[in-house]
């Protein structure tokens, strides 16, 4: 194989810099990204060729709603019903950071 070796996966938190997110966009995982629940570790992870992102509870809930049908506004509303304190901004920032890393893509509509 090329003498580059696959970049070792580090457990990452979602990065800092984010992209702008429109309320009407419909987010979904990028084609090469897979959401998986690891029952042994009891963790939701986003997997890509070089990335392993471990999600917290809210993160996993948001991702579960990223199916290319729900809009960002709908995702925020659904989470509000579930949790008391989910700020609109929090969801947006999270999705913005995932989008900047191309873990999530937006269907605009």
């Amino acid at each position: 194989m090329p003498s580059t070796r696959p970049t070792p996966s580090e457990k990452r938190t979602v990065g800092e810099r984010g992209a702008a997110v429109e309320s009407s966009s419909r987010p979904k995982p990028a084609p090469h990204i897979r959401l998986r629940f690891d029952s042994a570790r009891e963790q939701h992870v986003l997997l890509g060729p070089e990335s392993v992102v471990v999600l917290n509870h809210t993160g996993a809930d948001i991702l579960a709603l990223c199916d290319g049908h729900h809009t960002v506004a709908e995702i925020v509303a659904t989470l509000r019903e579930r949790y008391d304190r989910v700020a609109d901004d929090e969801v947006r920032h999270f999705l913005g950071r995932l989008t900047a890393k191309r873990y999530v893509v937006m269907d605009d509509g």
Partner: protein, 366 residues
Amino acid sequence: MDSPFGLLAELTYRCPLSCPYCSNPLNLGDYHDELTTAQWQRVLAEAQELGVWQLHLSGGEPLLRRDLAELVACARELGLYTNLITSALGLSQRRAEQLRAAGLDHVQISIQSDEPALSDRIAGTPSFHSKIEAARIVKELGWTLTVNVVLHRRNIDRVAGVLDLAEELAADRVELANTQYYGWAWRNRDALLPSRAQLERAEAVVRAARERLKGRMEILYVLPDYYSRYPKPCMGGWGKRQLTVTPNGDVLPCPAAHALPLPRASVHEDPLARIWADSPLFRCFRGTDWMPEPCRSCERREIDFGGCRCQAFLLTGDAARTDPVCHLSPDHDIVAERVRAANEETKTGAGVLTPRPHHGRRLSPG
């Protein structure tokens, strides 16, 4: 002790290409006795149980294994993320469709240059046009396309062209990876190491392209080891994140570790979990206890883990020394000397490159 995230499955060392920077071992002939399909399936199941999430299918050329789609399907059934690392020779429409149906998650295609003639020369075989065709098929079938280009003295001046080509192919990601010096790349290191001026030009091109292509194409740039102040955190730490299984069933903490004079571990003899937890091979450089000075008392010891054991061995003859790439290493002048030689005005960049053999025949009969 952590569980590993990633398994690098080197399915075969056979390859239709003969890249002089190949990191496969020099003694390719010793790896003819490849694991069977059933043996690989057992290895995958054991890896999953051990906590592995990602499977990198590599080689050699993994497409030379007829059972590749079968192995992908097995991995998917186990819930593993599957990443194919390929030269793309042999990735026909039919083969690609099979892999797609088996659930392959991601394809990384290597090219050697944007110029067909140079690419074929480096690859040692006409291959450029098949690669371009395969890249098109990958996109058509709906995969994310990652193009990988290993950079070295002979092609690093082509970075702008390489990025244009990647754009033309609608690649989603490009990995520009400076050569790391293991296996055949180690043997060819003097002819492969670029000059500082070459690197600076290339890095300026990369920075500009990142800006221009933001949001469209992700550009990953793997730093040139020998020119760095600090070593790379090799494999995310020895026996910490990753493991490799070679075509004949040897288990290694890192694909280059075949070169080290350490006791072997093999899937023929032990289950992966036991090898990971208990084998002398995986334990010897795990954590920080093995470290010599200056690493032992260095505040970066949990960041880069003292660098790469294989590099320390290749450069100093002792795998337990600080990676000489580190400017704090007492052996750093070994690297500095190589770098100085690569930057001598008189150096034309000619130098002889030894291509790796395709099918791992022994170099001399007998």
